[in-house]
Symmetry: C2
Subunit: 292 residues, 2 copies
């Protein structure tokens, strides 16, 4: 989700041509699903005001699934005006009532009702739907978030047409023991859904949580090239796990991803050049392991 979450969280607006070049580098690196932008209100997120231009101009290999974040039904309408350029939409809400209110000024129930309408419309248009649940492992305002509540939300999203449900550790509160227990329960509750782990590296534990999730059968992870984006709580903290760090660990463990790590590092290096500041990704700095 680097092009969406990453570009959105930069203080400056990245030029559309730079965005296109970076996304295309990700496509050439072999990533098969890329969240390229979000159809949010340009006055709220000026960083993504060029969403439609990005969608229309983007050139990616045919086997790459282009996904966009849609914050609401108005966002879906905008996405559908570019239906041919999109394979997937992501809709989100928070598992914490307080966080959801602060993030989108709505109750969880209202968000769910909106997502049910959104996914129904999107599915009727043949779009794949992903539901993303933030603060699934803990909330900076409410503290513990009951797994039963998270799974009840996930069940509603899946029933509404989300083939995939992602569970976000939005402010980096998850630990491996919790992750194992949570995804074991999620697999039992949602046998038919693709379950995705969305971890942050806020306290350095991002890849440990990936390992824990792998151990209980999770095969889908969200990440961001260069370690761009994520929720910096508090300010200065790191957010998303870096795609390069994730891919490096998986490859070293003997898990194939189809991603060309060297090409992915090039994409992150290009992002670093565009943003003109050191990015947090470890493998970007340390390079690929050379076994000689």
């Amino acid at each position: 989700m680097g092009p969406r979450d990453g570009f959105q969280n930069e203080p400056e607006v990245i030029a559309t041509a730079d965005k296109l070049a970076l996304i295309e580098l990700l496509g050439r690196a072999g990533l098969k699903r890329i969240e390229v932008t979000s159809l949010v209100r340009p006055d709220v997120v000026p960083q993504l005001a060029d969403a439609e231009q990005v969608l229309e101009a983007l050139r990616l290999p045919a086997d790459v699934s282009v996904s966009v974040l849609v914050p609401n039904e108005r966002g879906l309408e905008r996405a559908l005006a570019h239906r041919a350029r999109i394979q997937e939409i992501n809709g989100f809400l928070s598992a914490s009532e307080t966080h959801n209110q602060m993030n989108v000024s709505r109750s969880i129930e209202d968000s769910l009702a909106g997502l049910e309408r959104t996914f129904a419309t999107a599915a009727a248009e043949g779009l794949r739907c992903e539901g993303v649940i933030s603060t699934a492992f803990g909330c900076p305002y409410e503290g513990r978030v009951p797994p039963a509540r998270v799974l009840a939300i996930a069940t509603r999203l899946h029933a509404a047409g989300a083939q995939e449900v992602a569970f976000g550790d939005t402010t980096g509160m998850a630990n491996p023991v919790q992750v194992r227990e949570f995804f074991r329960a999620a697999r039992e509750t949602l046998p038919g859904a693709e379950l995705t782990a969305h971890f942050h590296n806020t306290r350095g534990q991002g890849l440990a949580n990936v390992l824990a999730a792998l151990e209980v059968g999770v095969e889908s992870f969200e990440s961001s090239f260069g370690e761009l984006g994520g929720c910096p709580v508090p300010a200065g903290a790191t957010g998303n796990i870096a795609t390069e760090d994730l891919v490096s660990m998986l490859h070293e463990m003997g898990i194939a991803t189809g991603v060309d790590l060297a090409a992915l590092i090039e994409a992150a290096a290009a992002a670093q050049a565009v943003l003109d500041r050191p990015l947090g990704s470890h493998v970007l700095t340390a390079g690929q392991i050379e076994w000689g």
Copy 2:
């Protein structure tokens, strides 16, 4: 090992009074074993030229085991002149012939012979001995390092009197699958030794490797407050895992450490103030998780 490995790797020399204050903060945070300095040649490592002053002036709780790194028999002689101030010595070598030559200009066999004499003398003085094996999971010059070679070295060190053997991922090449296999074999080979994992976070995988080691029964980890020190290969890469990040993950997993995390973060913050640059530790920036 922050006070030794961390202070040694800073470009400037940290004032002795600052070192003492920081080490004493670590002691107050509940760490029970602290590598406080190294008895290296002051012309080679001027950053630790005050090793004897640190040892004599240090005030730590009675239950803290003070450990020093001794690079050779001359270092042990210097340590023994302050015998009453020390509970433990650490001696090291590399599992890679090339790395050992580059690091200490000796063959592995010569290093081992020296360590055997060093440990014999130290043990006769009632000191606890730890043998540290660098590049145990991979070498930047030789690539793969056969586990059988590492375990043969560990067996020699244990036979020579090392109650504890630490295995270092000196340049961050280890992955969780390798770590699990390695420590399973090490436990079988060395049933009587304390086996310690010394991981670096070079590619963001430090705590994932900790998790893998925990899973096969490892209970002893080396780390550095603030993420100080470690081997920056290439330049700019991060080194040791941060003690705060490690303790945070362990506590969140329900594993007691006896460490007061808030006090530990204070020690890392004090180090950051002394060094006057942002340190790499994640928990230092993000803070302890607040469950409310």
